[in-house]
Amino acid sequence: MKGNIFAKIIVYAFLILGLVVFITPFIYMVMTTFIGDAYSLPRPNEVFTAVPNLDNYETVWNKNNFFRYFMNSLLVAGVATVGSVFLGALTAYSFVRFTFPGKELLFRVFLFTMMIPLVLAIVPQFTVIKNLGLVNTYWGLWLLYIGGGVVGSTFFLRGFFETVPKELEESILMDGGGNWTIFRRIYLPLSKPALGTMAIFAFSGTWDEYFVALTIIKDEAMRTLPIALMMFQGKYASNWSWIFAASIIAILPVIIIYIVFQKKFVQSGHTDGAVKG
């Protein structure tokens, strides 16, 4: 019994040590935002004794069109998320429910593109958008986010669609429903957790996306939050309180969504297959 308690203490000690390493930087960041007039690097003592207040958040929110960039990002990420989930579901459904010539080849091509770093594609992607006349439009961004992400989302959702029992389809077929009805009434509702997880991935991915947005969007008023953050940091390089107040506003939506939904998270289809070996 004594050994057991000893083991418990050691295990918890390691777990809490890990927690300290992962969480302290966040706490230090939040504490920094409570300091007023931080025009140079604040001393750790100042940070530890800062009194919580929201002054810096208010200043940042009203500064440099920050509110506008926030709304831009919301629009960009929102549409990209809906589009990615819809397109991913549609394509995954095509692969799971249909047989057609060339399916295996197509599947392999899709698989192959996942192994190649997409940085190789970024220049041609840009020229495609340019030829479509969509530089400096959100359509250009959406097309790249949704079209460029379709392979990944297809693979993710495919794993879950495969677990949908085929017997369920028969009732729809008997009622005279077709492929669309099966998609809408069986595959989508039964895959809600997977679709939700996918939506969160898509949202946080596009919300944070920097490099594509930087190359496509030229107009200052149309910038998204990550670009605005970098500009903001360039402008107020040493005012860490403002920079972190802006940063926290920028990461808050994703963190809130994650914490609210994380119990419903599902693991990616890859792990499923891998566990079963």
Binding site: P25, L87, F98, F100, A121, I146, Q233
Partner: protein
């Protein structure tokens, strides 16, 4: 009333679902007609995704390979002459490329084992029966993963700031590990350490979550059987847990290697390759060659070489993925 056309198409769907009825009642239609019919059925569902993938993934990748053999000029109407392997040859005489290759490999060699070990270690600890607040631990360990790269980069630059006031310097001096504050980002190797720590800190939560899921998937009966055989604690871990985690470990390691190899924002936002290009990695070099220096051909050649390397490294995993069932 059922629309007749729909009914027919549903009927043709049957062979897919139930292999027993494979033979159609009508005289055998030609293979071509059958394929055409199948394509017509799947087309409304597939064509958007297929178009998206073709235009924004497959075409750009092929185009990227072609560009790597060109002196590519992005201006409309300007010529982009083919230059053979010149772009590739250029890389091998470019000192920046040597740094980028070295640093990319170093990042992989250093971070993958640490990341793997820490991920497994914490997952095993969280999974121990008596540990409470499992979900809380998992959520908090995962927090760095969902935080924006840019913000975490700001944070690391802040924590590792020069002088007494940087938190890391402050702590190290207080504890007495170092006497003088270190200028972390001004020196090649200390900057590399910051990048590695950044990479590990930001991504280890993923390994924890994946292993935790795998551990929870191990059937309880196996442990019960082991305990009947007199194996408990460490022995059960050695003879039940480790073998059961085999397949997932391959998956985790391949993903960690790919993640470490694809290191990019870690460097771009922390040091931007500095001091003097000594912390540059392949992806940041590829990006900058294209969008800062407009050397699109050279950038593509670097991308092709990197893609080939990743392809070879992950070959084993691909074979496994390729074996997956399609239906």
């Amino acid at each position: 009333m059922l629309p007749k056309v729909k009914n027919e198409s549903d009927h043709n769907q049957q062979p897919v679902m139930t292999p027993k009825q494979k033979e159609p009642k009508k005289p055998k239609p030609s293979k071509f007609m059958k394929g055409l019919k199948q394509w017509m059925q799947v087309f409304p569902f597939l064509f958007l995704g297929l178009t998206g993938a073709s235009v924004f993934v497959i075409y750009p990748l092929i185009k990227g390979i072609v560009m790597s053999f060109q002196d590519y000029n992005i201006m409309p109407g300007a010529e982009s002459p083919f230059v053979g392997l010149e772009n590739y040859a250029k890389a091998f005489s470019d000192p920046a490329f040597r740094y980028a290759v070295r640093n990319t490999f170093l990042n992989t060699v250093v971070t993958v084992p640490i990341n793997w070990f820490l991920g497994l270690f914490f997952a095993v600890l969280i999974n121990i029966q008596f540990v409470k607040y499992k979900i809380t631990f998992r959520t908090l360990y995962y927090l760095p993963i969902i935080t924006s790269w840019i913000v975490v980069a700001f944070l690391f630059r802040y924590l590792f700031a020069d002088g007494d006031n940087g938190l890391i310097n402050y702590l190290l001096v207080q504890v007495g590990i170092i006497e003088e504050p270190i200028s972390w980002l001004q020196n090649q190797w200390t900057a590399m350490i910051v990048i590695w720590l950044f990479h590990i800190w930001k991504t280890v939560g993923w390994t924890v979550v994946i292993y935790l899921a795998a551990l929870q998937g191990i059937p309880k009966e196996l442990y019960e059987a082991a305990s009947i055989d007199g194996a408990n604690g460490l022995k059960a871990f050695r003879f039940v847990t480790i073998p059961m985690l085999g397949p997932i470990t391959a998956f985790v390691i391949i993903n960690l290697v790919m993640g470490a190899f694809n290191i990019f924002p870690q460097v771009y936002f922390i040091t931007n390759g500095g001091p003097m290009g000594q912390t540059e990695v392949l992806q940041s070099m590829i990006y900058k060659q294209a969008f800062n220096n407009f050397n699109f051909g050279y950038s593509s050649a670097l991308g092709v070489m990197m893609g080939l390397t990743i392809f070879l490294i992950t070959l084993t995993q691909q074979k496994k993925l390729g074996k997956q069932r399609f239906m």
